[in-house]
Amino acid sequence: MLTCQQLAEVVTDYLEGKMNFADRMMFQLHVGMCKHCRAYLNQMKQTVELVAATGKIEAEPMPDDVQAELMHRFRNWKTNKQ
């Protein structure tokens, strides 16, 4: 049998699809019967979704001066290598 404490440590193996058939069945059986572990699994999934949301707000465009500096370096590099 899989205890709640053991289940909490293999949630990512489950979500990553890295469990063999028997372990996967045992995991699903436990989650089906235990509302606390069901809550834990759902919270781990929601954590992943919220982290994904941090990826979206970060996407601010590159500042013009940074872009200009890089292009300046590129032209120098091009000149020097010839």
Binding site: E9, A39, T47, G55, V66, E69, K81
Partner: protein, 208 residues
């Protein structure tokens, strides 16, 4: 990106094609910055690491052999530089040092053992998250901001993996190639990172 696209891109770069360089810089700016930030202690440092990375790309493009994808090659350069800088800033400990794995958050259980009975059942079960309903979108936005702070406070090894996998949406294969670690190790670190962030969200909601 397909390897053949990579080859075309690298050839264009070697030939000094400015448009190709500009497109690459724009395409990867946000993700380079985000990954760099997990190893160093400020946004300014991360920006410098990104600038240095592009300089190193130009310097080394002649040696690119196409054994890894361009993206993997690019991020390996970034991670090496960011790690060096992170060590200097004391944000991360050198991998060769004798610091225990616990410092990197890779040891022990991910849920406080005090939350379970001696038989391994929940004694103090996960707290309900009211914030996860569609009606509480405002709180959700607030949580996303809180999460960014929490990620910055994770040990670099955990932060870098959770950012690559969950924030940037990379596959485990891509992460393993960039960090040059085994998939099983990657999964352990990913689990620890997610579990810590979940615990932070649980506490945040119960206090806030």
């Amino acid at each position: 990106m397909a390897p053949s696209d990579d080859q075309a891109l690298v050839t264009a770069l070697r030939n000094g094609d400015e448009a190709t360089f500009a497109a690459l810089v724009t395409r990867y700016h946000a993700s380079l910055r985000r990954v760099a930030r997990t190893f160093v202690s400020s946004d300014a440092s991360a920006d410098e690491v990104v600038q240095d990375t592009w300089a190193a790309v130009l310097h080394g493009i002649g040696e690119f052999e196409g054994r890894a994808s361009f993206k993997t090659w690019l991020f390996r350069i970034l991670v090496n530089r960011a790690k060096t800088r992170g060590v200097r800033e004391a944000r991360i400990v050198p991998e060769s040092s004798l610091a225990s794995d616990d410092d990197a958050g890779t040891d022990g259980p991910t849920v406080d053992p005090a939350r379970f009975t001696s038989k391994g059942h929940w004694a103090s079960p996960p707290q309900r998250w009211e914030a996860m309903t569609p009606e509480s979108l405002l709180l959700r936005d607030e949580l996303v901001v809180q999460l960014q702070t929490a990620i910055a406070q994770l040990p670099a090894r955990l932060a870098s993996i959770v950012v690559m996998r969950d924030a940037l949406g990379w596959s485990s294969e891509e992460v393993c190639n960039v960090l040059e670690i085994a998939e099983t190790h990657q999964r352990v670190l990913l689990h620890r990172a997610r579990a810590r962030l979940r615990a932070m969200l649980e506490t945040y909601k119960n206090h806030g």
